[in-house]
Amino acid sequence: MTLEQQLPALQVILPLFGALICALMRRGSLAWGIALGVSFAMPVISGVLLAEVLSNGPISYHLGGWAPPWGIEYRVDTLGAYLLMLISAIGALIMPYARASVAREISADKQAWFYTMYLLCLTGLLGIAITGDAFNIFVFLEVSSLSTYVLIAMGKDRRALLSAYQYLIMGTIGATFYVIGIGLLYSVTGTLNLVDLTARISEIGPSRPVLAALAFLEVGISLKLALFPLHVWLPNAYAYAPSVVTAFLAATATKVAVYLYLRFLFSVFGVSVVFKGLPVPEILLALSIAAMFGASLVAVFQDNIKRMLAYSSVAQIGYITLGIGLANKMGLTGGVVHLINHAMMKGALFMAIGAVVYRVGSARLEDFAGIGRRMPLTMAVFTLGGLSIIGTPGTVGFVSKWYLAVGALDKGWWWLMFLLVASSLVSVVYIGRVVEVIWFRPLLHTGTTVREVPLAMLVPMLLLATATIYFGIDTTLTAGIAGRAVDMLLAGLS
């Protein structure tokens, strides 16, 4: 076998071994070097895989040479490759940024462990996206979750420990619900391979154990996804985690859960079971709208900006699930493209906040007063990201909302389009509040220490901010691939 054929395995094994080597390091900077190398290799591998999938169709890799459905299969299709690309690109952008920020926020003796946990988390997230085995997904889910709990608990504030504990409880309940669902499916079908499951479930039809499994899986994944009202773990976890962790998780972790949602609702159970005869779209639409408004309104009243953006994340996840609930070509494309768009803009926003925390040591709104004069570039990134959250034309946020609105119109739901616009207006309030404070208030911290962050932190932010503009204007790459993935997902509906 050539190296190219081994790429699906390398995508997971490289970060896993990287984590192992990092665990043996004592010096944080050495561990950072390894994490950097691995993180830079990841987008190369996913890029090759994505190109291969787009031109030649899905890749199937048999782990250990055992043919599916008996052995574990790694399966990369359009949606999977799209997600792999997203996770690894964000990982590669975060790593140069991480060094200075981690050095400021985490004590020297724990830095090597930090990078170990980061690489394990990356392993888990990439693993979920690449594997074609339902139980393997559970294992990767737990690899990423357990390392996430540790990463969150590394925050400076003692409340980081509490939020990590709360997340551990909720996350484990979610993962256990997932295993229960898989257990029910396995006892009905006798297989764990996703492709095989799809075929056998369509033979059995919606029998009672299958529907029970659907319910368990949906609740379990919704917990990981932070779907309103199962989002209570998310705001605290994001607010008190180290800045790098917040930026990384906000851009990737919930997106992977959305991917699982798509995988199970559309592929495994099949659109004909889930979206015809079951009230799944209605439930999703109601919860999504509640998230869009409820979480946005709560965000308006937050004084900690990290927390505010965390609530905004819950609202943005609402847009993604709204697209899933619409379940038509345009709506779902909006949801899928919002995966990557939201990752870009929230990554940029949290990195900008992390940069302020690096200089000022706080994420409270009043400490941001007039800071735009001292850190103009960082705050320009924040403003761009904010504009994108609002959905200003020319940014990626507009692209997603446009697709969602057209999807709603295709269904003839005018009211939903108005709700989309109205919820954007709420985000104008919470983003506008911060923008007003950073640009128009007199400077609070007059000391000379507050200035632009080092170049290694600045460049990743600027790249993400540029991407929010670029992909807001030229959508052929993002929306094009999302459209192809959606065609695959919706294949069973017509």
């Binding site: 559970f138 540790v150 420990l161 551990l168 006892s187």
Partner: protein, 121 residues
Amino acid sequence: MAVFSEIVSHYNHWITIFLMVSGLYIVVARGNMVKKLVGLSLFQTSVYLLYLSPGKILGGTPPILDPNFAVYSNPLPHVLMLTAIVVGVATLALGLALVVRINEEYGTIEEDEIFPVKDDE
């Protein structure tokens, strides 16, 4: 009578459901962080039973090729649960480690006493 035998013959599932629900109840109802973890562990453990009991076939043997035996029990659930046990142990260990750190920082592990504490941002 038919209903009764239906219930009794599925006793393994009833035990599973009882363990599952009581574990989940403890997680929700208890304010002590260690007790919550005990409940969580119970909840996870119930899943092992959910997987293992349908894997057993009455009169089935381990899946070893032998002309004398034709009915085999499914070994895969055991392997899956071995993995799940490892995950469960890791989760419990991490949870307890977090509780130790919380106790060091707050001086208590009762949620009723921790949540009223207001830290400055």
